[in-house]
């Protein structure tokens, strides 16, 4: 497994042909990372990264409860994910399904785990797809980064034709 050399980067590895593992260390105790990860008003502030604005966050944090996040990417299109919580251990683990609404057949099972490490917290998000094709598509969507790239290319083509 790749060692984390900096705390600022997420580390993404592909443990098997159908999995994605995202890991990051935070300078905060577990219960606060859990809060940031599960509270709608806080999720709104981080989930889009630098790629757009979060427009809706629904979180029904209990087994069988549903979640749905929506963002509008900078290029203007909407990206939505939803799923159902399967298992919740507060401050420790959340297991949930995850569906990208642009690719509804590719449901993944996501396990987010929080662990203590020298007063800090390691967050691991394991995404398990049912096939390698779906796993690869998940990465390709990059998520909307891939689409953004396509848009940029399309724009270049359009400009070259003008």
């Amino acid at each position: 497994m790749v060692q984390m050399t900096t705390t600022n980067s997420a580390v993404v590895t592909l443990p098997t042909a159908t999995q994605i593992l995202i890991t990051r260390e935070f300078d905060a105790p577990r219960h606060l990372v859990y809060r940031a990860y599960t509270t709608p008003d806080l999720i709104r502030r981080w989930w889009a990264g630098e790629r757009g604005e979060v427009t809706s966050v629904e979180v029904d944090l209990r087994p069988g409860g549903v979640w749905r996040y929506v963002m509008v990417a900078s290029a203007g299109f909407e990206v939505a994910f939803h799923g159902e919580y399967k298992e919740i251990i507060p401050n420790e683990r959340i297991v949930a399904t995850e569906v990208f609404e642009g690719m509804p057949d590719a449901a993944a099972l996501t396990t987010a785990t929080l662990a203590d490490k020298d007063g800090r917290t390691v967050l691991s998000v394991l995404v398990e797809h049912s096939s390698q094709e779906h796993r690869d598509a998940h990465i390709n969507s990059g998520m909307e980064g891939g689409m953004q790239e396509s848009m940029n290319k399309l724009e270049q083509v359009a400009l070259s034709l003008a």
Binding site: M1, V2, N8, S9, A10, V11, V12, L14, T16, A17, I20, I22, R24, F26, D27, A28, P29, L32, V33, R35, A36, Y37, L42, R45, W46, W47, A48, G49, E50, R51, D118, G119, R120, L123, Q132, D136, H138, I139, N140, G142, M143, G145, G146, E149
Partner: protein
């Protein structure tokens, strides 16, 4: 993602679990076939077969060292895979950088001074 035959595509070559184990084992430095057999706990002919596939796509290179052959990773061949994952990784880095800001605020609220209070 378009895929070529296993023997011409690093993506497919490392899609096989055993071959990924070999790549992981070589990530710490060069290894002989026997060392890989020990590390993976699988028969030598199987290890050799996988090494052949990895060599054909350039993911590993081999050199003779006396009586043994030493295998090492070739980062250049793995770069397309790295690039492929990188945009996805960048997205999560952006998310987590923003989460750092949220967490700093939560810490300040909880501990009052927002200093590195890691207990």
């Amino acid at each position: 993602m378009a895929r070529a035959a296993t023997t011409t595509d690093a993506f497919n070559a490392v899609a096989e679990p055993r071959r990924r184990e070999i790549v992981a084992a070589l990530a710490n430095g060069q290894r002989s076939v026997n060392e890989l057999v020990t590390a993976l706990g699988v028969p030598q002919p199987l290890v050799s077969k996988h090494l052949r596939v990895l060599r054909e796509v350039g993911v590993v290179t081999v050199r003779e060292d006396g009586r043994q052959r030493l295998y090492r990773l070739n980062g250049t061949a793995l770069k397309p895979i790295y690039d492929w994952v990188k945009d996805f990784e960048d997205l999560w880095s952006e998310r987590f950088t923003r989460m750092d800001v949220v967490l700093a605020e939560l810490k300040e609220t909880e501990y009052g001074d927002g200093s590195d209070d890691d207990d």
